[in-house]
């Protein structure tokens, strides 16, 4: 019997209205597994922000989630334009979100800072023109 649960989500940018489904699914699974409400909240928010970024800034990608007895790891990998200056992107309020999504309330430049706030470990690797990989860990 496997000691961890592995979940894979392909996120496409074709249907914007479906953005957030993957994190919603993980959220409901974690609740079923009896993970503490606080940890569920952290994973749900951090993963949601990462998922939305993938759709808005990178045209979609792939999310790998691994749930073990002690932690949840979320790896969001895309082949989008990449981030030039990660430090700047991490700053609250910095955003290059296009106008058409601002009307939906995105583009406050709070996504990456929120991931930092709601995770116990966060790593962003990015190469301009090649893509971005955001790794998030939440301890249970």
């Amino acid at each position: 019997m496997s000691k961890t649960i592995k979940l894979v989500y392909e996120v496409t940018a074709d249907d914007f209205t479906r953005a957030g489904e993957a994190s919603g699914d993980v959220k409901s699974k974690l609740k079923m597994m009896g993970v503490s409400p606080e940890a569920v909240r952290k994973v749900a928010i951090a993963m949601y922000e990462g998922e939305i970024n993938m759709v808005i800034h990178a045209g979609g990608g792939r999310i790998d989630v691994e749930i073990s007895e002690s932690e949840v790891t979320v790896v969001l990998a895309d082949k989008g334009p990449g981030i030039e200056d990660i430090e700047q992107a991490m700053q609250a309020g910095w955003s290059t979100a296009p106008d058409n999504v601002r009307s939906l309330g995105f583009g406050a430049g709070m996504g990456l800072p929120n991931i930092k706030k709601y995770s116990d470990f966060m790593d962003v690797k990015s190469q301009v023109g090649a893509g971005t990989t955001v790794t998030i860990k939440v301890l249970l």
Partner: protein, 443 residues
């Protein structure tokens, strides 16, 4: 933990179809041995199965009208939605007087208590800015849903009793002062739009015991009242103690309106409510003051124990409230303490699949293994609403793999192939093998 719900199955009428299992928002219903069965812990009494059942086999539970005879003195607590059921009503006193004529000894309007709850809510929200957004606690279905599914939102529920409960305790006090009767001789009887309120009385959340003695249905009281709705005794003493704010509680947006703030959201219909709660959990709208949620479409006017179409009821209500004063009941120097819930609402993880993380991981792995095996048709033939729900049932020991008719077909197929094999084996292979044994004859 005791779980109660207020939906009952008429087994004669139930055909074992899959309408209700598909519709139930918490996946609380299964078909077992050809009949629908409700998993009590999952049920939130939203009434969806009652609405959808084409055979009228799902029956709401409530008290019959003759319950009045059980008491020496009765007080009617009309839900504000009662007013919205009548044509051309321009005075709530007509309704209240009709209640007295059909046998109640006194009335206490829930809409009057609602105005008190509105006033205290305004105060509470202003004093607790840091805890917003606040979620209304008035719809018991919503509170029960949050309690089993949205642990992170429990702290946002405004810790006030629902207006019906507040009305009940004030009515009880009024009745015992007025009559001097012992408590068991006084009947506080709520006239309800929904069976969820019945459960809220039997199995209250946040308070020790409900002050309501019996819950009768609007649809039972309504036809009896019709003959007693007289516009001509308008000169009599005024009974009504509520205005626009109080009666508007019966429709979606009404409770929020009573808070005198623009910073709110009002969602109605249980599926919409769930979507809002999911979004709220992901902190998609932290800036609002108040979230009003009603399990029924249109708010309580859409409850399953009402008679009028909810949209028509809403229109009637708007007409009625037009020339009403904004409100008639105020807290004044009353002690607001009894309006607050006494106990914290606790999270009850009824959907949990394992006692600890280790068990849960094993169970989750088993569920996805099963899901891979099932055809993914969500056909409902197994009695569960989806293939995934069946997988969860199997892991929780509530069902069997072969409840899936598609897997069963596979097994039968396999089995019949084995039979064929066995058959040809006995005819040929075994015959050859046995031909050496002289005293055994094989045909």
């Amino acid at each position: 933990m005791k779980f109660n719900n207020s939906v009952h199955l008429d087994t004669e009428k139930c055909k074992g179809c899959i309408n209700c299992i598909k519709r139930c928002p918490t996946q609380a219903i299964r078909v077992r041995n050809g009949k629908a069965v409700i998993i009590k812990e999952f049920c939130i009494d939203c009434g969806e199965c009652i609405r959808i059942c084409p055979h009228h086999a799902k029956l709401p539970i409530y008290d019959p009208l003759p319950v009045l005879d059980d008491y020496e003195y009765t007080v009617a607590l009309p839900a504000p939605s009662l007013y919205s059921q009548f044509n051309n009503l321009d005075d709530t006193d007509i309704v209240l007087r009709a209640l007295l004529k059909i046998g109640f000894d006194n009335v206490y309007e829930v809409s009057s208590a609602a105005e008190l709850v509105s006033e205290i809510s305004r105060r509470y929200i202003a004093e607790n800015e840091d805890k917003k957004p606040f979620i209304s606690s008035a719809c018991p279905s919503v509170v029960r849903l949050i309690r089993i599914r949205f642990p992170n939102l429990i702290e946002h529920i405004i810790p006030l009793s629902a207006p019906a409960e507040v009305a009940a305790s004030l009515a009880r006090k009024m009745a015992s002062e007025k009559t001097g009767l012992p408590p068991d001789k006084i009947g506080i009887i709520f006239i309800s739009p929904c069976p969820a309120k019945v459960t809220a009385v039997k199995n209250p959340i946040g308070i020790e015991k409900s002050d309501i003695d019996a819950v009768v249905a609007i649809k039972d009281v309504y036809p009896v009242m019709l003959n007693h709705m007289s516009h001509s005794d308008a000169v009599l003493e005024e009974l009504s103690a509520s205005g626009k704010i109080g009666v508007s509680w019966s429709r979606s947006g009404g409770e929020a309106g009573g808070l005198l703030t623009d910073s709110y959201l009002a969602a109605d219909g249980i599926e919409n409510v769930i979507k809002v709660l999911e979004d709220m959990e992901d902190q998609k709208f932290p800036d609002l003051n108040f979230i009003e949620l009603n399990a029924c479409f249109g708010g309580c006017v859409g409850g399953t124990l009402t008679v009028e179409n909810p949209y028509v009821a809403k229109a009637k209500l708007d007409r009625l409230r037009k020339y009403m004063p904004v409100s008639k009941s105020r807290i004044g120097d009353m002690n607001p303490e009894p309006l607050f819930l006494q106990d914290k609402i606790e999270y009850i993880p009824v959907f949990k699949i394992g006692a600890d993380m280790k068990e849960s991981i094993a169970a989750m792995a088993k569920i996805s293994e099963l899901c891979d095996k099932f055809p993914g048709l969500d056909c409902g033939s197994c009695g569960a609403p989806t293939c995934r729900a069946l997988a969860e049932d199997i892991v929780s020991g509530r069902a069997n793999e072969r409840d899936c008719i598609h897997l069963l077909r596979g097994y039968i197929h396999q089995l019949s192939e084995q039979f064929n094999l066995l058959d040809s084996y006995t005819k040929h292979g075994a015959a050859d093998a046995l031909s050496n044994v002289s005293d055994v004859k094989v045909e």
